[in-house]
């Protein structure tokens, strides 16, 4: 197992009262999995991934990455920083350099890569995020539009080529074309072996690319299974203020075989209507 959470608990001090953010979370995540994480606002999903990234310290319990307890006094966190990339919820706030190039290259500054290798990585990351490298490299990242900033910030994380990629609501604010291109890129990274954990409210996007869904509700793990399994609990999810994908919802209403992706749903619908027409 690449990531293991054991009896993980987190408490915050909120206006003098202790409040449980996460309670007794046990999770095992294998190398190369693509996991979607869902939950209503304030359920603790961001805290969960921040614990995995070593950005928060648990109140009790353990986070093991490749078998090592990352909160142990003897653990060297630079190892974790080298293998884990984290795209924050508003990644555009991470931008600070004078040019897009310098911003994306920042994470590679202290790596042992040559100048040429750095440039190749920056170019690749920016092109992967849908930019024309030559046109964008000298722009000020702060002069870009909201969605463009977000894509530059994500490129900065991708340039470091992390083994584990954690993304907190990365596709909100991207236009449909940028969103589709980004999901394709995530699928490509996944096919190349990257472990991906993505928080999203977008059930259609999760159905499209994740293989496993973890649903957090009220600080506890509520559901954990394949996308098909989790979306078959439409009523349970609705009580947690969550939606299933368009395909899942419609296939139920039309009494079609359960499908979670748009493509599979349209196939099933064609078969049904085409059959009826004949």
């Amino acid at each position: 197992m690449q990531i293991q959470l054991k009896q993980l608990c987190l408490q915050y001090d909120c206006e003098g009262r202790k409040s449980d953010v996460l309670q007794d979370i046990d999770l095992q995540i294998g190398r190369g999995e693509f996991i979607g994480i869902m939950g209503r606002t304030g359920c603790g999903k961001t805290s969960l991934v921040q614990l995995m990234a070593g950005l928060l310290t648990p109140t009790s319990g353990q986070v093991l990455i490749d078998g090592e307890d990352i909160n142990s006094r003897h653990y060297d966190k630079t190892i974790l920083r080298g293998k884990l990339g984290y795209v924050f919820q508003y990644p555009e706030y991470q931008l600070f350099e004078t040019t897009v190039y310098r911003d994306v290259a920042f994470a590679l500054k202290y790596s042992k890569l040559s100048k040429k290798e750095v440039e190749a990585r920056v170019r690749q990351a920016l092109e992967d995020m849908g930019f024309d490298f030559a046109a964008i490299r000298e722009e000020s990242p702060l002069a870009l539009s909201g969605g463009e900033k977000r894509r530059v910030a994500i490129a900065g994380v991708l340039a470091a080529q992390p083994e584990i990629l954690i993304l907190d609501e990365p596709i909100a604010g991207l236009d449909p074309q940028a969103r589709d291109a980004f999901l394709k890129l995530l699928k490509k990274l996944h096919a190349q072996g990257t472990t991906i954990l993505m928080i999203s409210h977008n059930a259609d996007a999760l159905a499209d690319c994740a293989h496993r869904l973890i649903v957090i509700n009220d600080g506890k793990k509520a559901l954990d299974g394949t996308v098909e399994e989790v979306f078959s609990h439409e009523e349970v999810l609705s009580q947690m203020h969550l939606d299933v994908s368009f395909a899942s919802r419609m296939s139920k209403k039309l009494a079609l075989p359960h499908s979670v992706t748009y493509e599979a749903f349209v196939q099933n619908l064609k078969a049904k209507l085409g059959g009826d027409a004949q």
């Binding site: 909201g146 589709d180 419609m250 748009y262 209507l273």
Partner: protein
């Protein structure tokens, strides 16, 4: 309520001028709910920011609620009648207590102190945050925070409220909360402009403006725009799921009786097909 004529705008960058708006002309009636759709960087937010003079006018003429947005003497008044709600409410909050947050606007506009209490109470009531007066904004949920941001805008009795991707970060339930709030405000006579990437939200609008590369590509009813494959393709946007199903079936020789805009209409169309 909003009249734009040949509005143009370019940002200054080290590389020279970066043009983001090009001869934008459109007219929005009082009490309408308008959705603005378009790709990242197409000029949606720039246009919104010109509407309440967060950006200075460069070319053309833009009037909002009767105020000329290039008239610097009226900027203060303009911002009162044209409120904005942004994607991340945390960026908008200035106070550590909910009621002070809502009072911030009226205080700046020198509303008599004895009136402010009633204004704050009414604004919080309108967004269903009664009883939250003494809470800290950061303890609220995402949907509640966004509603608080709306209350802050309402306290100034604006005529126009612009929502710049105000639902992007919310979970489905909170999003429905904010959308219901927009509808309610429209029913009370406010003119609503929402910038969004969710076509399913644009369905709720009376009219939809499609933007591309700083221009208005099309402006019409939600159905005229969102079910028009050519226009949506040209703007590089996806149609709502229901309309996509219609066209994907059409390509296979299956013609539903109508092009549906919503899931309910899709169900109905499929029922009628059978």
């Amino acid at each position: 309520m909003i009249q734009a004529q040949n509005v143009g705008f370019a940002y200054e960058t080290d590389e020279g001028l970066r043009r983001v708006l090009h001869e934008v002309t459109l007219s929005i009636q009082s009490g309408e709910m308008i959705a603005v759709l378009g790709q990242n960087g197409c000029g949606k937010s720039t246009f919104a920011r010109l509407c309440n003079a967060l950006l200075p006018m460069q070319e053309g003429k833009l009037t909002v609620a009767g105020f000329d947005t290039s008239d610097k003497k009226m900027t203060f008044e303009l911002r009162r009648v044209c409120g904005m709600v942004f994607q991340n409410p945390d960026n908008q909050f200035v106070s550590s207590v909910v009621q002070e947050e809502v009072a911030f606007g009226p205080e700046n506009y020198e509303v008599p102190r004895q009136d402010i209490g009633a204004i704050v109470k009414a604004a919080l009531h309108q967004v269903a945050l009664d009883g939250f007066e003494h809470r800290a904004p950061y303890t609220l949920s995402g949907g509640q925070k966004q509603r608080l941001a709306i209350a802050g805008v309402l306290a100034l009795s604006p005529k126009v409220i612009i929502f710049d991707e105000a639902t992007a970060m919310l979970d489905p339930m909170c999003r429905r909360e904010v959308l219901a709030m927009m509808k309610k405000l429209q029913a009370q006579g406010h003119t609503i402009v929402m910038i969004t990437h969710y076509v399913e939200e644009a369905v709720l609008a009376d009219r939809v403006a499609l933007m591309q590369d700083g221009k208005i590509l099309a402006f019409g009813t939600a159905r005229e725009i969102l079910c028009d494959k050519e226009k949506m393709d040209a703007a590089k946007l996806l149609m709502p799921h229901a309309a996509r199903v219609y066209y994907d079936l059409l390509a296979e020789g299956i013609t539903l009786p109508m092009c549906p805009l919503t899931e309910e209409e899709l169900l109905e169309a499929i029922c009628r097909f059978n």
